[in-house]
């Protein structure tokens, strides 16, 4: 099964179970949770069921295209359902069968992992799911997001697509994955991985980025004061990504680090509060 078929199968599976199939969001971000479909979906009382692919950028994980397992940008397949269905774990296992893992031919484990995102002001309880010892999914019941209590609780399932595809295609190196029948993963992404790694670790303009961070932060605050939720959120996301680049570059000391994280969290919190006050 090539990479794009894997994405399509997961979309088919969750679409058949009532999920809206969303699109990746066009602002850089570190995780599918940051897509507004999830961040705002998890807030408030309205029921939601959504699934989408999210390319997620982790500057610190960049390896110049040299490491067979670590990437600056990888793809997550994200599912959120609120309220979390009673049989959500069973449904998840069905999804693994649907993409080609016969459950009795593997060792599927749910190992405690309580997810936390200090920048999003979010935490949840759940597991990392192991398939034959490999972590393939993060499974979380949101308890809080944007500093707000989640009630009802959203279940979030985040599949690591590259890892699953490598397992299914039996390749040892992510760049050897067959993306489609005509192209390999490496043909599309290898040079991109190199350039972004080089940028984050060596070429980025620290001074400029620190200035950008301040600008994005004040813009987010200004937009919150004007009651414009989704643009304020975009600028908070930009802060988050800018911080991640600076962090990878080693431009932020340990003491400052906590301070920057707190600044981003404060933005997310204001946006979440604004959203809840209007319940869009």
């Amino acid at each position: 099964m090539n990479f794009q078929e894997l994405k399509r199968k997961l979309q088919d599976f969750w679409s058949a179970r009532g999920c809206t199939i969303g699109e990746p969001y066009d602002v850089e971000k570190g995780a599918g949770t940051m897509n507004p479909l999830t961040f705002f979906g998890a807030l408030g009382e309205k029921s939601v069921a959504r699934a989408y692919v999210e390319p997620s950028r982790r500057p610190a994980d960049g390896r110049y295209g040299d490491n067979p397992n670590r990437l600056y940008q990888h793809h997550q397949f994200q599912v959120i359902i609120k309220p979390s269905p009673i049989d959500i774990v069973d449904t998840y296992i069905e999804s693994l069968e649907y993409i080609g893992f016969n459950k009795d031919e593997h060792d599927i484990r749910f190992v405690e992992d309580n997810w936390e995102s200090p920048t999003l002001g979010a935490f949840g309880k759940g597991w990392e799911v192991w398939l034959d010892g490999m972590e393939i999914t993060q499974f979380t019941f949101f308890q809080e997001i944007g500093g707000m209590t989640c009630k009802p609780v959203t279940a979030e399932i985040t599949y690591g697509l590259e890892r699953i595809a490598m397992y299914l295609q039996n390749v040892e190196n992510v760049y050897d994955l067959q993306y489609s029948d005509s192209e390999k993963y490496g043909e599309i992404y290898h040079r991109r991985e190199y350039d972004h790694s080089k940028y984050c670790f060596e070429l980025c303009n620290e001074k400029q980025l620190l200035q950008d961070f301040d600008n994005y932060e004040s813009e987010s605050k200004r937009l919150v004061s004007l009651g414009n939720i989704f643009t304020a959120y975009d600028f908070a996301l930009k802060c988050s990504h800018t911080f991640n680049v600076l962090d990878a570059r080693g431009a932020i000391s340990v003491t400052e680090r906590a301070h920057y994280i707190a600044r981003i969290r404060a933005l997310m919190r204001e946006v979440a509060k604004l959203y809840l006050s209007q319940e869009c």
């Binding site: 397992n69 309220p83 069973d90 597991w127 609780v153």
Partner: protein
């Protein structure tokens, strides 16, 4: 009335392995308590647990709770009826409160006073009905360290409750939680038999579970894993040391264990062992394998399932380990690009604790403490301390420790060796965190012991100075474990250290911290010394087995001189019940009773001693004291008692034949001073 088997199974989506056992035990305690309180006759309760279920099984539980008749006492007869012989409000209240009528009452005479009594009856009850009302609360009050909410529910539990099975005999016990109604079905193994299975009785349940790939009994799962590993050891010619904590964790991660062997590229064996073993054990829950005492390119893992397509599972696990080892290799190579001394240059940026500052600031204090320890213990290590301290925490900024924090110190030593430092320096870096847990090994070298004590002592004093003291069950910095680590290290090295004086001498290093918290120097040092004294008492009792009242309470712990205190405890344990020692204690008590609250002369004046018995007493004591003092200096307490013993008879004789409280006030004060001298001396050994 008949006895039946009782079964409660709480089906839960995978419970974190670290909490499974504690939760099951808490369930057992809750239910046992409720059974007793509600007079439910029962025998032999057992608790079982797996990652997906907490189970309580009672072999015999009466299906009926017998009715009771209890005699209850009411008001005195004279206040129960008025002059017209009508019930007073007191009697009416008594009857109404207990739903009794006047016909139920009778009179009983107690010590000459007549009282109203009544027979209070309770109806027999159906056990299943009573259990149904009790269980929701019992389940929700299970100890849960880190619970969660799900769906739309308000209640919390460790992970979502999926089903509840409850039977008394063949009868379902019906109750309802916010999340789920109890029923008569269970489920099998998550992937091999995840369907509802109807259960008609407890025996039926116990028979059906193994068919559904669930081995309920945790001890059975443990035994099976051990047997499987033994078989694999033979088959592959390997040795697999069993880490019992890891084994216990794995037992709580699987419902149907199957152990198998995987392997990895032997080129990785060139890496330092901790980099190979840490991801194996801590991250993947594998047992490393050895051949001829050396790590080999194999590992044992335990699948949650049977051996169907186990080759898939082996291959998957090998792939994961290989990726982790590649990461470890990458980090290690990165770390080798800079020296440990270079890494140490980043420590000013690493915060130890916000108020206490960076690791550089911490290490300045640790260096000072190390110097003073070196001086107090006369170890001649100051040059070594100068080399070691700046490197001690440098591995905190290494990539390997960033990934595997549990091998801090160990990696520092490896990098120090790589940089060519003397072996004792490397060893001290490795030993600084010892003991890491109760029962762990202790620093072997003097240098290692000094830096380990200094580092821990700084953490304890520093964190207490900024008011981050441990409270109740909260001890986030593990200060209690660190205090015990310090005491155990002092003991193992036989260091002659008055820790209490030493702590007081260090107080100025922390003045700016405790002053900012409005603590005085004496409050601060008193707190720290008491903290140590409490740990010491617990350690003497729990780790070393000394009895509290017979031994520990007889020792003055306040000086915190570990070596001396342990010797005293050992001596008292031996001496308890021996005649000379008991006699000494009796004499001490006799003296203490006499001098309590009396004023004694400041100095003993020999001319005031006129009484012959008194003269003999004092000369006998002075004669004994000389030798007993030598025994004290040698901390040889059995000899101390033998050396004191000869004067006891003359002390008793003085007491027996004289009025100690002389009418002559000068003589009296002089005698009190003499007795105080004797008593104080003996108290240098026992309280």
């Amino acid at each position: 009335m008949s006895a039946n088997k009782f079964l409660l199974e709480i089906g839960i989506e995978e419970i974190p392995a670290q909490y499974v056992q504690k939760m099951a035990q808490s369930l057992e305690v809750n239910i046992q308590k409720a059974l007793v309180e509600n007079n439910i006759e029962h025998q032999n309760a057992y608790v079982y647990y797996t990652p997906r279920r907490l189970v309580l099984l009672v072999e015999q539980m009466s299906d009926v709770i017998a009715g009771t008749v209890q005699e209850v006492k009411g008001p005195a007869k004279k206040s129960a009826f008025d002059e017209q012989n009508n019930p007073t409000r007191a009697l009416q209240g008594f009857l109404a409160g207990r739903k009794l009528t006047l016909e139920d009452t009778f009179i009983k005479n107690i010590n000459g006073v007549e009282y109203i009594f009544a027979n209070q009856k309770t109806e027999a009850k159906n056990t299943a009905d009573v259990m149904a009302t009790l269980l929701p609360n019992l389940i929700m009050s299970i100890y849960q360290p880190n619970p969660m909410r799900w769906n739309t529910f308000s209640g919390k539990f460790i992970r979502p409750i999926r089903w509840i099975l409850c039977l008394l005999g063949a009868t379902p016990v019906n109750f309802e939680l916010e999340f789920v109604k109890s029923g008569n079905t269970t489920r099998g193994h998550r992937t091999l038999a995840n369907h509802e299975i109807a259960v008609s009785s407890v025996d039926d349940y116990l028979a059906k579970l193994p068919q559904a790939f669930v081995l309920l009994n945790q001890n059975e799962r443990k035994q099976i894993i051990l047997e499987q590993i033994k078989r694999l050891e033979k088959q592959y010619g390997i040795t697999v040391p069993i880490d019992t904590d890891l084994l216990d964790e794995i037992v709580n991660l699987v419902e149907y264990p199957t152990a198998a062997v995987g392997s990895y590229d032997s080129a990785f064996l060139a890496l330092p062992e901790p980099i190979i073993i840490t991801p194996m054990k801590d991250h993947q829950r594998y047992f490393p394998a050895y051949q001829n005492g050396k790590l080999t390119d194999k590992f044992v893992f335990v699948r949650n399932g049977n051996d169907y397509y186990i080759e898939n599972v082996i291959k998957g696990n090998q792939r994961v380990l290989s990726a982790r080892l590649k990461d470890g290799e990458f980090f290690y190579q990165e770390d080798l690009k800079t020296s440990l001394a270079d890494k140490a240059k980043k420590l000013p940026d690493v915060v130890f604790q916000t108020k206490l500052g960076s690791y550089t600031e911490k290490m300045a204090r640790v260096q000072e403490i190390s110097y003073r320890l070196n001086l107090a213990l006369n170890l001649n290590l100051s040059d070594k301390i100068d080399t070691t301290i700046p490197l001690l925490k440098a591995d905190l900024v290494s990539a390997v420790v960033g990934e595997f924090s549990e091998i801090q110190g160990v990696m520092g030593a490896i990098y120090a060796r790589h940089d060519g430092y003397a072996e004792d320096v490397c060893q001290a870096i490795e030993e600084q965190y010892l003991p890491r847990f109760s029962g762990d090994k202790l620093p072997q070298s003097n240098l290692g012991a000094v830096v380990a004590i200094a580092d821990k002592l700084d953490s304890i004093m520093g964190l207490c100075a900024v008011n981050l003291k441990p409270t109740g069950s909260q001890d986030p910095f593990a200060l209690r474990r660190q205090a015990i680590g310090i005491l155990a290290t002092i003991k193992a090295h036989n260091f002659d250290l008055n820790l209490s004086t030493f702590i007081k001498s260090l107080a100025p290093l922390y003045a700016k911290f405790y002053e900012a918290e409005n603590m005085s120097e004496s409050d601060f040092t008193e707190y720290v010394c008491n903290f140590f004294a409490q740990r010491l008492s617990i350690m003497l009792n729990e780790d070393m087995g000394f009895a509290i009242s017979e031994v520990i309470s007889k020792i003055d712990l306040s000086a915190l001189n570990m070596t001396e205190i342990v010797k005293k405890a050992e001596a008292i344990s031996k001496l308890n019940g021996t005649s000379h020692f008991e006699e000494m204690i009796q004499v001490m008590q006799r003296i203490d009773k006499m001098i309590a609250g009396k004023s004694a002369a400041e100095n003993i004046v020999a001319d005031l001693v006129k009484n012959a018995d008194e003269k003999i007493m004092m000369s006998a004591f002075y004669g004994c004291q000389e030798y007993a003092q030598i025994a004290l200096n040698n901390a040889d307490y059995e000899v101390f008692v033998e050396n004191i013993y000869p004067c006891l008879e003359s002390i008793n004789a003085f007491f027996d034949h004289n009025l100690v409280m002389s009418e002559d006030l000068d003589e009296r004060a002089n005698r009190m001073a003499e007795l105080k001298l004797i008593s104080d001396f003996m108290h240098k050994f026992v309280l």
